[in-house]
Symmetry: C2
Subunit: 638 residues, 2 copies
């Protein structure tokens, strides 16, 4: 399932940049530290991958950290994870497409000023593609992922060979000098240095973001699902770790610079500022340097990186329905999301997702580091709670076993869980403490809002369920109303009215009545005459309307029946026009729609809609069928 791995693998297209960027703010010579940070992140990747292999096997239903935290730490913890993951879906879209725009800019420098626009258009396209149907199950999307891994490994291999053979590649920024940033941190020493290293490490750990994507995609794997997913995760983790270490080391050897503010922080060898210089992503610079004599390969690497980022963005769109339906089944989201069959509802959810991503991209002006801060909060909050849940999981199980090799293994598993919890907790603490006011609060606030909203939805459903659950001896299905009154509301004598009359009579009510509202006397008179002339088999009652109001008299009539015979059932038959084009709805059914809403407020009243399909409906359906072809939705006979 390389498609779901794309999210994690694609992060090597921006994680190294984040490491160099965080370091560039300090006076530390980035080139000597960055490879070690890359290595640290790689170790964390491997630890977390080990943790998640255990998670997946213990909870293979695709609930991921939501299920782990919910099961072991309680509903609230699960809900926090759910809120975090929803925020992460938005950020996966936003980050992937923003980085995508950077690679497009690296390939076509003329497009650099349009990064925001490109990212927004990209979100739109990925969303549309996602709405058209599931791409994840199509092998097609695996191709960019393989190509990307191949291209990066090739770049690294050629690069290291050139370095070993003494022909060290030269990047555009190799000759530049990076000055420390002008932030307040440069003034600090000692403790500050540790802090900056920690921050670079946390920024780099964005490379772990894709782990959860694989975890939530478990149900889409072939059985045995947990094992296959765990395998994919291991391979993906190893590849990510190798690529990340390779990129950070090689770029350090070559001397690639990547700083927060190039115009301030980069100077040429002779000490003059580089001025208005746009840095390409580290991987792009690397490919350019390594294949210096053969620029074609640079375009291949950048194009494949851009492609894999699109695939990664697609995983967010693909992954959302799974989480949403699980949350809906648990009562945290509207119930119509529970069934995956209901495409339309999911479409609305995905459109909301895309809209939020677009807002973020525009608000941050497509600045990747700003988005990464937000991303890290959600990702690592989910990690921390997931790991805590797993530790609890093992603790509970260990308690039941006295001695056995299994117990030993579980203790080991728990140790790995503690390691994962510490590492991910460290990242979360660093992000929250260094970047809370700089933007991370937005992610925290979004998670809190989602948490509260989903809690309210759940509370509403619980209350309603309590209200609706019948006693075991509830016999309301057996105690029938004494009589049924069928009431046909007549506005004119036309075919839909005749049909409503026939249907009302066919249900053999105790009483059947046709009523009409006399807005003007002449009209009522004419209607009555015509009614009699046609010899219609039901008596017509004409209701006066002193205020020319149409619905009021009907409501009074119905509530009148209700008052006289409170135990009877009243069925009101309303003709309803089925039209072919949306605007025709503005011309029909409006008055009866409002009448229906009012009628449903009266107890013991059922509203029966008697459809009449206008010829425009048939025309529209025929046209649709002709367009779709015979294989389309089966036509309904008339």
């Amino acid at each position: 399932m390389p498609v779901f791995a794309s999210d994690m693998l694609s992060s090597v297209a921006y994680a190294p940049d984040e490491i160099l960027l965080a370091l560039s703010l300090s006076g530390i010579v980035a080139l000597t530290v960055s490879p070690w940070i890359g290595l640290a992140v790689a170790v964390v990747i491997l630890v977390i991958v080990l943790c998640y292999r255990l998670n997946l096997q213990a909870y293979p239903s695709g609930g991921g950290d939501y299920e782990v935290a919910g099961t072991n730490l309680g509903t609230r913890a699960g809900l926090v994870v759910a809120a975090s993951l929803l925020v992460d879906f938005v950020l996966t879209l936003a980050v992937s497409l923003t980085v995508f725009a950077s690679y497009i800019g690296a390939m076509f420098p003329d497009l650099k000023p349009y990064r925001v626009l490109i990212a927004v258009i990209g979100i739109g396209l990925v969303t549309l593609a996602g709405l058209r149907g599931s791409w994840a199950t199509r092998g097609l999307l695996a191709v960019p992922t393989y190509l990307f891994v191949g291209a990066v490994l090739l770049t690294l291999a050629v690069g290291f060979i050139r370095v070993l053979s003494g022909d060290t590649p030269e990047a555009v920024t190799s000759d530049f000098l990076a000055l420390p940033g002008s932030d307040e941190e440069t003034l600090l020493t000692g403790f500050a240095a540790v802090f900056i290293v920690l921050r670079a490490f946390s920024s780099g750990s964005v490379a772990l973001a894709g782990v959860q994507t694989v975890a939530t995609a478990v149900p889409l794997f072939r059985p045995p699902r947990g094992r296959n997913a765990a395998g994919t995760l291991l391979v993906t983790g190893l590849l990510s770790a190798i690529m990340l270490v390779g990129i950070t080391w090689l770029s350090a050897v070559i001397g690639i610079k990547f700083v927060a503010r190039p115009e301030e922080q980069l100077v040429t060898g002779s000490g003059s500022p580089v001025g208005d210089f746009d840095q390409d992503p580290v991987l792009g610079q690397l490919a350019q340097a390594v294949f210096s004599g053969f620029p074609f390969m640079f375009y291949v690497v950048a194009a494949v990186a851009a492609l894999v980022l699109l695939v990664a963005a697609n995983t967010a769109v693909e992954g959302f329905p799974g989480l949403a339906s699980r949350l809906a089944r648990d009562g945290f989201l509207p119930r119509q999301l529970a069934s995956r069959g209901d495409r339309m509802t999911f479409s609305n959810g995905i459109l909301l997702l895309a809209a939020a991503a677009i807002v973020l991209v525009v608000a941050t002006q497509a600045r990747v580091p700003d988005l990464i801060e937000l991303y890290l909060v959600g990702v690592f909050l989910a990690f921390v709670l997931g790991q805590a849940g797993m530790i609890r999981h093992w603790t509970v199980r260990i308690r039941t076993l006295v001695t056995s090799p299994l117990r030993r293994r579980m203790q080991l598993n728990r140790l790995v869980g503690w390691l994962g919890l510490l590492l991910t907790g460290l990242v979360l603490v660093v992000v929250l403490s260094t970047k809370f006011f700089a933007g991370a609060w937005i992610a925290v606030a979004a998670i809190a809002i989602l948490y509260v909203a989903m809690g309210l939805v759940r509370r509403h459903y619980s209350r309603v369920d309590a209200e609706l659950t019948p006693e075991a001896d509830d016999d309301s299905a057996r105690t029938l109303p004494s009589n049924t009154h069928a009431v046909v509301v007549v506005t004119a004598i036309h075919k839909p009215t005749l049909r409503a009359l026939a249907y009302a009579r066919a249900s053999r009510p105790t009483f059947v009545n046709a009523i009409t509202v006399a807005v003007d006397e002449d009209g009522a008179q004419r209607l009555q005459e015509r009614w009699d002339a046609m010899g219609l088999p039901v008596r017509l009652t004409i209701l006066d309307s002193p205020y020319r109001d149409l619905n009021g008299p009907v409501m009074d009539y119905i509530t009148g029946i209700r008052k006289r015979t409170p135990r009877d059932l009243v069925i009101v038959y309303l003709p309803q026009y089925i039209v072919g084009r949306w605007w025709e709805n503005l011309l029909h059914n409006q008055t009866s729609l409002r009448l229906k809403t009012q009628l449903l407020n009266v107890p013991n009243v059922v509203v029966a809609s008697v459809p009449w399909r206008l010829s425009s409906f048939h025309r529209a359906r025929d046209q649709r069928n002709r367009r779709v072809g015979p294989s389309g939705s089966k036509p309904t006979e008339h």
Copy 2:
């Protein structure tokens, strides 16, 4: 009924400005010509008032020119008038509030930069007030109209007395010199002069705009309606004519200037440009000059003018439902507009009206002259067609009479009609020929679009009527379906389901069936067990759903019944939740709403909504009742 006169009377607050403005573009010395143009407009007012007294008496139903043109010249002419009048409603709102903003600016010069905002807020307030209920029938609104007439007449009287007593008042602009505008017209002579006079005349005839408001308000007058409305019209016309002549003459005597571009066209006595000078409306300048020692009266005049403009704007909001319901009864607008009882629908219409007015005010940046061009097109197109209709009306009647004093009177009436047609036609031709590309085309386009749209609506209704009208011997109300199948769609065993089962059984169908869709096997199993345990009196059919689709299997089941027994009636009972707060709708009924839409496409299927009122509905209703108090809408008992 001074309220409906307010539209016409309020025009003296801006019509004189338009005359001076049109003249200011030329080299003509405005002061010598403007009084004569004022006089000419006054004459036209009186001629048109004479015409409309006849119209009102011949067609007293409030249809105005729409009815006159439709009856005498055919549906199409009537429809053009209707489209024009709809556009005029929008422009009455836009023009009144824009001029209102000018008077506010005259009183509080600091607010002048916010004219657009003030006009938009004014439109919003007038619209809201109009939506809250009819103000026209409240005597309150008559006060500003009387005050306005009193204030203007007092200003004129004091002004003329001061002039006669040799103490000619001095306006701010009296000492300024007005230079010809830099438009191309200044280069022409002779013919151009005639043209500019004609244009000033047509711009001034905006004072006639209110005539139609009185005509459409006839049904709101006390009977005898036609005669009372005609009386109001005569008094209003005379007052308007007197005030218009008075204002143009007095401002000419005082030497008030009002030009298109003050910064270019106004120079001080010494010849230096006045620079950044904001002109107040002519009536405002006049009041300031006349009451020079007593500024309080200036504020009274300006405030009363602003007030009467609000009342005039209100007439548009009040008048719309009348025209709309007439058009709806004739099939040109959605039928729900036909009954005036349906406030909600009219509210939507009025909101559309207000939105269009706001768009115009913002698009023209609250420039009154631009709006006047648009206004004139609609107003005079309706006048011309109305007058043509009246001429036809008299011609037809004259033909039937050989000789009699009545015939003589009708011939005289027709002559008046011709005079009205010529004068209003002249204005229309001048506006269209001089200002078509400068903006009048927008009004023409809007009228054309409304004309086409209303034509399409009418065609749709005619087609549907033809389709729906039964033959006299249609016996579809007597030929009943052979059997009735009641189908209850079950998603869970809760009280709404039990109620739906009871209601389905109460209607004594031939067959009754409960169906549920098995999204997962366990759930279906549990549901069946619970169903059996409760001993529910109907058999439960479990439908498989291979694609976890909820509605598809139900649709297949229903169409299956249809295919086996095409002559039977199928009634599908769907529980529907009635909620108390809007957002709860997002949590309920969504799936069944879509199922209902699909079911209504199947022939011979009736969908019966079985309501279940959630406790939140009762809570919300109680809260509402408590707020409204016991005199509010009567509560429905549970």
